[in-house]
């Protein structure tokens, strides 16, 4: 037992006890409750980092095997320009463009086949089936078709995001109840009026569900597609080359950026959802 291990262990025990105590608190005010809701997971996250650092130092694990968080942070700060260039290439170009086109196309297709029960019955099982497939495998084909630069990655992202959006939107369009639709009929509203005023708002929770699923899928798709060939910039490219050169701290830094970008992207969609579907029970209670 050396000091780093003991320290990490003591910190973990202390943080655990603190969390047990905090979780049992039942504050009256809503703001205190919200603060607790942030504080407890934050303590847990910090504990993870401290234990990680302590384990690496205590057992003298080689940094190639498991890089301590402090070294990752140092690397992250020292190579901001590279990381920013990779982020631009992968996230701002491939992910965002592919995400917008893929989700848009899925949404429009769902609206288009909405009026044809025949197409719905034909396409929906296929869409559900495709959602379970390892679509990521089309990446090498897309790289062959659209070249090494970001359009091929965007194409992979489009294919990956299309089907979840299609399936969820079609499901969402059936979410309004018969009473609501009958009411719209008594108002003599047209198909499009019913669509925009009743069925699309009712479908919003489903659509946002797809948007959230897709935000993760898009990032994964773009990064993995870069394993199949890229220009010399991009997060997936950096990860695969730096792994080959055993610069594991750079890989971790890249992963940290990807994690941060993924969480922010997801968080942005979730915030938008709160703003749009404020009426939904799951939001009202929270």
């Amino acid at each position: 037992m050396n000091w780093a291990l003991t320290g990490a262990f003591l910190f973990w025990a202390g943080a655990w006890a603190l969390n047990e105590w905090l979780a049992r608190l039942n504050p009256r005010s809503a703001s205190a409750k919200r603060a607790l809701g942030i504080l407890i997971p934050a303590i847990f996250g910090i504990t993870l980092l401290v234990v990680w650092e302590g384990l690496v130092r205590g057992f003298n694990i080689s940094p190639v095997l498991l890089t301590p968080p402090s070294a990752i942070w140092a690397r992250l700060v020292s190579s901001v320009p590279t990381l920013w260039a990779d982020f631009q290439q992968t996230f701002l170009k491939a992910v965002l463009i592919g995400y917008a086109i893929g989700c848009g196309a899925g949404f429009l297709t769902a609206i288009a086949i909405d009026r044809s029960p025949f197409l719905q019955r034909g396409l929906m099982p296929l869409g559900n089936f495709v959602s379970a497939l390892p679509i990521i495998g089309v990446a090498p084909i897309m790289v062959m078709w659209f070249g090494f630069d970001w359009p091929s990655k965007a194409a992979v992202v489009i294919i990956m995001t299309f089907f979840p959006m299609l399936v969820n939107t079609v499901q969402g369009l059936t979410a309004s109840t018969a009473i609501d639709r009958d009411l719209m009929r008594t108002y003599a509203s047209s198909y499009w009026q019913t669509l925009f005023k009743l069925r699309l708002p009712a479908a919003a929770p489903f659509i946002f569900n797809a948007l959230k699923i897709n935000s993760t899928l898009a990032l994964i798709g773009a990064i993995v597609a870069e394993f199949f060939g890229t220009p010399i910039v991009g997060m997936g490219f950096r990860i695969s080359t730096e792994v080959g050169r055993m610069n594991i701290d750079m890989v971790w830094a890249e992963i940290a950026v990807a994690a941060l970008a993924g969480s922010l992207f997801y968080g942005a969609v979730a915030l938008l959802e709160r703003a749009v579907t404020f009426w939904h029970p799951s939001i009202r209670s929270g």
Binding site: W16, N19, E20, L22, A23, R24, L36, G37, I40, P41, F44, G45, V64, L65, L66, F118, L119, R121, G122, L123, P125, L126, F129, A132, L133, P134, I136, G137, V138, A139, P140, I141, V143, M144, W145, S215, T216, L219, I220, I223, V224, F227, F228, G229, M235, G236, I239, S240, V243, G244, I248, E254, I255, A258, A259, G262, S263, F265, Y266, G267
Partner: protein, 308 residues
């Protein structure tokens, strides 16, 4: 009376026909047929430039019929035609010895074994963690937000590093790939099972309390059965994503076997037909895995007395 007698024989034959039209079979078949037609059209369209170029170099006369025939029989087409892919799959599954490295079943088996190992470990871990989260308030509050946050992280990006690092300490072969599958399959199970263990309603829990049931009894007789439907739903997601993890896990290390390795080798050497056949194999594997979980679900649910 006569009318009823007249419709009776027709009624005996129509259910099948009606099911085909009003059910999902016919629409799916038609949509699939249209997709295949579009595929053939694109095969001609995408492969034509190269083929025309080849004609001009050879200086041969060509007609539209020649063009259509030859674009579907190229060695390295931009888009192989469906029958080329089917022929390639047939050749590499039935046409070669099972133990040969050229056999697609061999590669599928490599991928399948790490998928299954990762899936089993991941599901077990996920259930255990969900039990902890449901029974411990501190764990619920501290771990759950991180489980959800971790889903927003592109875990697959870590895959090459895990493989290389584990290789560096001497772990190679099945386990590193299975670990990636574990990592991926474990989150849907945690989220689904936490929901499932919480699905018994308050009055049901109260009833258990009036029976003076212990914690373990409440768990095994109420919470676990109530969570089973959730378990199967999340297992379907988990097994699909587990396969993706196994395939991606085969990409970075220059693995020599597995469907992911076939994809990578195909992309290095421009063997499009090989890529497509590996893709179709992966799709079939995913369908079988999800189907098997679905059958398990139906069997368990039937034994639990659920009406179909």
């Amino acid at each position: 009376m006569t009318a009823a007698a007249g419709t009776a024989p027709a009624g005996a034959t129509t259910p099948f026909f009606r099911r085909a039209v009003e059910g999902k079979t016919l629409p799916i078949l038609i949509v699939l047929g249209v997709i295949v037609l579009i595929w053939y059209a694109f095969t001609v369209y995408l492969n034509a430039p190269w083929q025309i170029d080849a004609y001009e170099r050879a200086g041969t006369e060509w007609t539209a019929a020649d063009l259509v025939r030859d674009t579907m029989a190229q060695e390295r087409p931009v888009l192989p035609s469906p029958h080329q892919v089917v022929a390639e799959i047939w050749k590499t599954t039935v046409g070669t010895r099972l133990t040969s490295k050229r056999n697609l079943f061999y590669h599928a088996w490599i991928t399948l074994s790490s998928t299954l190992l990762g899936f089993v470990i991941g599901t077990a871990l996920g259930v255990l963690l969900a039990v902890g989260i449901v029974h411990n308030r501190a764990m619920d509050k501290s771990v759950m937000p991180w489980v959800i946050a971790s889903q927003t992280i592109p875990i697959l990006a870590v895959a090459p590093m895990i493989i290389v690092v584990l290789n560096a300490i001497g772990l190679s072969g099945l386990l590193p790939k299975a670990l990636i599958s574990t990592y991926l399959s474990f989150f849907p199970v945690v989220v689904g099972m936490v929901k499932g263990f919480r699905s018994p309603e308050a009055f049901q829990l109260d009833l258990m309390r009036t029976y003076n049931a212990s914690g373990a009894q409440t768990f095994w007789k109420l919470r676990w059965p109530a969570a089973l439907p959730y378990l199967f739903t999340s297992m379907k997601v988990a097994v699909a994503i587990s396969l993706v993890g196994a395939i991606v896990g085969e990409l970075p290390t220059g693995a020599v076997s597995g469907l992911g390795a076939r994809l990578l080798a195909g992309s290095y050497y421009g063997q499009t037909v090989q890529i497509w056949s590996a893709l179709f194999m992966a799709a079939a594997l995913a369908a079988i895995l999800v189907g098997v979980v679905g059958i398990g679900q139906r069997m368990v649910m039937a034994r639990m007395g659920e009406k179909p």
